[in-house]
């Protein structure tokens, strides 16, 4: 098929809209048509909002007629992962326990984008409460990878990544607690950014693990990631952990190239368990960065083997506390037949949560319980310190670090669903950035023998988003990949 408007990058569309070449309505219609055409197969959306989107687009078109300048996100269709609160629009977190929840407030990330004219096309499917790496933990059924419908899109922001890859929207927001933006971006052949912890407000991000949760972007170009981040980053008094920093112009240095940039290849990230196709593709991309003038060396994160154990104590511990609020009293599902309030709460949670969420609540409850707290949670917090120190040492020698985003390309639906430990290994390269609070981005760097996308991860020091964008943009331009899922040939 020929490219539709919804297949273009956001930055291109913004230029076309500003120049009067196309209207916001035409762009939004193109996106809505694509959703109609492919989403019954992909299942990226839990809630579609076509009426709201068209109304908003018409407003923007009328407003632009008056000659007022508009933001670069204005009129561009966007999807939000269904853990970001949207006022009056169903927000389920992929869980039965919030099946009919209508938030009485907006998440800050969305409120800011909306204020700039962003157009919401719908809420995307995800692993329940963002816990998972394959989207198979959604209470509403899995998302399918547009590159191969028999395979997972990754998770937990799998709906957002699949929707962007298939052109259902131009870009999307996801959330990243241990890799939930970067890993699905990698598996779907799109760009996924996890910003520095605290750079984007968590207000209205329904909490999973509060010290790790971040709002990130999923886009089809690095430039688009820079545009979206710039439009939503910055201090928010509603989130006490939000950083009080000026937001730089992320587009300013985008074209500066990588000449003289110190690139550290993470030695630990090319060992056992990494598919040869992934390893070779990432290595080849590192060579390209060297050809572009970067100085490449080997970096070490010596505590890498402790990241997964630390994460699977810290994240479930925080989750067990955060998810205590689902008690069938103030919002959400309530089980029938409880003999008293406490019994009602037991039943509500037993019926409302899925297996992975229960597993993590139990794990966290155990790790925080009397007699075990010091041995598990306390020790994990010390490991977190060691991982932060590893990064500090590495960033003394390097400006950015390179690794694969995920050890494998997209795996088959059902392949790892009964083996939690195998599933958790998907996030082995993405989790360290969450523990250390540093920013990281996944960019497509090739396809494997089966034609499935491979992602390369770049990591920078705290608030180093500009260097991430600059490096990722250089690589993206040099590779010049044309990434179009075969599914779209038949649309």
């Amino acid at each position: 098929m020929t490219e539709a408007l919804c297949d273009l990058a956001g930055s291109e569309l913004a230029t076309k809209i500003a120049g009067g070449e196309v209207s916001a309505t035409e762009v939004v219609e193109s996106s809505l048509e694509r959703i109609e055409a492919v989403d019954d197969e992909i299942h990226a959306f839990l809630t579609r909002t076509p009426e709201v989107a068209l109304e908003r687009a018409a407003e923007l078109d009328a407003h632009r007629g008056s000659g007022a300048p508009q933001h670069a996100v204005a009129g561009i269709p966007l999807a939000l992962k269904d853990v970001l609160a949207t006022m009056g629009i169903r927000t389920t977190c992929g869980s039965l326990i919030l099946e009919n929840y209508l938030p009485p407030y907006e998440s800050t990330a969305w409120a800011r984008l909306s204020g700039h004219g962003s157009v919401l096309a719908g809420k995307t499917n995800c692993d329940e409460f963002a816990m998972g790496s394959s989207n198979e933990n959604s209470a509403y059924g899995p998302v399918r990878n547009p590159w191969d419908l028999e395979r997972v899109p990754g998770g937990s922001s799998g709906g957002s990544a699949a929707a962007v890859a298939a052109g259902e929207v131009v870009w999307a927001l996801g959330t990243d607690t241990g890799g939930s933006v970067r890993q699905p971006a990698s598996l779907c052949g799109v760009v996924g950014l996890k910003p520095t912890y605290g750079l984007v407000s968590r207000y209205g991000l329904i909490a999973f693990a509060s010290s790790l949760d971040t709002v990130g972007t999923i886009t089809r170009s690095v430039r688009d990631a820079a545009v979206l981040l710039g439009a939503m980053a910055g201090k928010d008094h509603r989130d006490a952990t939000s950083l009080d920093e000026d937001v730089p112009d992320y587009l300013a240095g985008l074209e500066e190239g990588v000449d003289g940039l110190r690139v550290g290849v993470v030695a630990e990230a090319f060992g056992e368990g990494v598919e040869p196709g992934v390893r070779d593709s990432v290595r080849a991309s590192v060579d390209r960065l060297a050809n572009l003038g970067a100085s490449v060396g080997e970096a070490a994160l010596p505590h890498a083997e402790y990241t997964l154990p630390a994460y699977y104590l810290i994240a479930p511990s925080e989750a067990s506390s955060n998810l205590a609020r689902y008690d069938g009293v103030r919002y959400g599902y309530r089980a029938e037949g409880g003999t008293d309030s406490i019994d009602m709460m037991f039943r509500t949670r037993g019926e409302g949560f899925g297996p992975e969420v229960k597993r993590r609540i139990m794990l966290g409850t155990y790790a925080l319980s009397a007699g075990y707290y010091d041995a598990y949670y306390g020790q994990a917090q010390k490991v977190r310190t060691l991982i932060i120190r590893d990064y500090e040492k590495a960033f003394a020698d390097f400006d950015v670090l390179v690794s694969p985003t995920s050890p494998t390309t997209a795996f088959r639906v059902g392949e790892k669903v009964d083996d939690p430990m195998a599933m958790y290994l998907n996030d082995i390269f993405t989790i360290p950035a969450n523990l250390a609070g540093v920013p990281a981005i996944s960019v497509p760097c090739g396809l494997d023998d089966a034609g499935l996308p491979i992602g390369l991860q770049l990591t920078a020091p705290v608030l180093g988003e500009s260097v991430l964008f600059r490096t990722a943009h250089s690589l993206e331009r040099d590779l010049g990949l044309v990434l179009r899922p075969p599914l779209l040939a038949g649309v």
Partner: protein, 97 residues
């Protein structure tokens, strides 16, 4: 190190009603995960301080200006049951269990 977990005790703390099948599965899965997670003890030495937040903040204040709070009707709108402007729950006194 094999980890023995009192699943009933942990489920009580978490207020989760679990079926026998779920308990059996969780008992073995959690033991496996915790055995792996216990590796943190290998390197977490006495002199390493714990980290709760990678980028710590302290004493975060905002201007003490009054803002409207959420109207009662909206705050109650998602409640499974409500009555006279309040959340309604089953009886509080515990039944014999």
């Amino acid at each position: 190190m094999a980890v023995e977990i009192d699943i009933d005790h942990v489920a009580r703390l978490a207020r989760l009603a679990l079926t026998d099948e779920e308990k059996a599965q969780l008992r073995s899965q959690l033991a496996l995960i915790l055995e792996h997670a216990a590796k943190v003890g290998e390197v977490a030495a006495e002199d390493v301080p714990p980290t709760a937040y990678a980028i710590p903040r302290a004493n975060v204040y905002r201007e003490d200006t009054p803002e409207p709070s959420i109207p009662q009707g909206e705050a109650l709108a998602n409640a499974p049951e409500r009555e006279d402007g309040r959340f309604k729950v089953p009886r509080i006194v515990e039944a014999d269990r």
